[in-house]
């Protein structure tokens, strides 16, 4: 019986790319459906994620799951090869702790710092850097957060590994630099050059153009306030 695996995502979204990365690590074939998240969400998306009406949505043999990290844990539990989480319950708890930290503290702080108005930038940048410093400590000399291979925390931190560097290029404001966070900076290079990750990233030029436009738009809004 053929297995039906589908991902509803958006090309530039780090959240749907997390799901795609997990599937690629596991070698699971899937069908990808691009959603027009800024314009017109499909009736299927709204049916499968009525609570949040967001991507990503994962469909396995007709059964939908929403929330990227919930989906990644489901993928881990369903396809057993190439594990994303350690087996030891304590190490697993540590991975979940850091994935949560990335999702709930780092990402919002980084996004705010990237696009905040001039007068708020210094404070936002300071908070974002605090997060990066703390996150860096979790690496602890390892190549990836997951050890020798990409794991849950690396997947959760995909935004920091790839999107952040492009935001920095678009805005001219550096948060993650080799000087300030050598270990984390090195990790981001390792992350994006890892073959399974490389294949699951949005095209560089397209994403950079998107961020430049967004930054210009934010600057306009901030200037007129």
């Amino acid at each position: 019986m053929a297995e039906e695996v589908k991902v509803f995502g958006a090309w530039g979204s780090p959240f749907s790319r997390r799901v795609e990365l997990a599937l690629k690590i596991k070698g699971v074939k899937y069908e990808y459906i691009e959603e027009d998240v800024y314009g017109n969400k499909s009736p299927l998306l709204l049916k499968y994620n009525p609570v949040h009406k967001k991507i990503p949505v994962f469909l396995h043999n007709g059964k939908p799951i929403a929330e990227s990290l919930v989906i990644v844990e489901y993928i881990e539990e369903t396809w057993k090869g190439n594990p994303i989480l350690p087996e030891d319950p304590y190490e697993k708890a540590m991975a979940r702790f850091w994935a949560k930290f990335v999702d709930e503290k780092c990402l919002p702080a980084l996004w705010t710092a990237g696009f905040s108005p001039e007068n708020e930038r210094a404070k936002a940048a300071e908070e974002a850097c605090e997060c990066l410093k703390t996150l860096e400590s979790a690496l602890n000399g390892k190549r990836f957060f997951g050890g020798d291979t990409v794991g849950l925390v690396d997947i959760a931190a995909n935004f920091i590994g790839y999107w952040l560097r492009l935001i920095q290029e678009a805005t001219g404001h550096d948060l993650l630099s080799a000087e300030k966070f050598p270990a984390l900076f090195k990790w981001s290079d390792e992350f994006v050059s890892c073959s399974v990750v490389k294949d699951s990233l949005p095209p560089r030029d397209k994403l950079l153009a998107f961020f430049k436009a967004r930054f210009a738009g934010a600057a306009q809004t901030n200037a007129s306030n």
Partner: protein, 232 residues
């Protein structure tokens, strides 16, 4: 035996995050030492065990600390595999539980905290937000209680139950005293109301619930402090 399975919980009596871990340990029958933290004067151990957030709860198992209540609950379930199991075996059902737990934790709790800590228009808006989300949950849990009524006999307490019951209660008396209205209204969200009623009547939960007047006092204290500091 001795040090082989030493469990210490650093908590605070009114913290819902701490309460859910405390109850989890009790439901699993795991012996533990409880350390009440004074959040105005956190112990050096707490700061050492949770340097990232410096918050309760922290579970220390054989000297190894874990922070973040939901991470702790999953750890407890994976380490002590006896009943009750907090998560189902089936991966899809597990995903559903995790999805709704995340919804309650991130969306409902945030709205509730805003309601507690604000007044005037901001509070009104937060109330609206909270009730909207409670309605979404009411609809969503129909798949968990397909018969429409959670029953008390042999109730297997799970992750979502622990998170929900530590944050919300069907005790309308307290809600009316603190907020002037029902938060969990048996008419607006009947399934949530009966679910919480069942949960709060479980003996282990009942015996861990502080008396009404203490709860009202702490809510009012938190609220007054929040309003004062927002004026500063």
């Amino acid at each position: 035996m001795g040090e082989e399975n030493k469990v210490v919980l650093h908590g605070m009596w009114i913290s819902p995050y701490s309460k859910r871990v405390e109850l989890a340990l009790k439901f699993k029958g795991i012996p533990f030492e409880y350390v009440e933290e004074d959040l105005q004067n956190k112990s050096p151990q707490l700061l050492q065990y949770n340097p990232v957030h410096k918050k309760v709860p922290v579970l220390v198992h054989n000297g190894k600390p874990i922070a973040e209540s939901i991470v702790i609950l999953e750890y407890i379930d994976e380490t002590w595999k006896n009943q009750p199991r907090f998560l189902p075996q089936d991966p899809y059902k597990r995903a559903k539980v995790r999805f709704w737990t995340s919804f309650v934790q991130q969306q409902l709790c945030e709205s509730l905290l805003t309601v507690i800590k604000t007044d005037g228009e901001v509070q009104q808006k937060a109330f609206g937000n909270l009730f909207e989300k409670l309605e979404v949950l009411e609809e969503g849990i129909k798949e968990i209680f397909p018969d429409g009524n959670p029953c008390i006999g042999n109730y297997n307490i799970g992750l979502l139950d622990l998170v929900m019951l530590s944050m919300f209660s069907p005790n309308n008396k307290i809600q009316e005293e603190v907020f002037g209205m029902k938060i969990i209204d048996p008419e607006k969200t009947p399934l949530i109301f009966s679910w919480l009623t069942v949960l709060h009547q479980l003996p282990l939960v009942k015996e861990s619930t502080p008396p009404d007047d203490k709860v009202v006092a702490i809510f009012k204290f938190v609220r007054e402090n929040a309003l004062k500091s927002s004026l500063a």
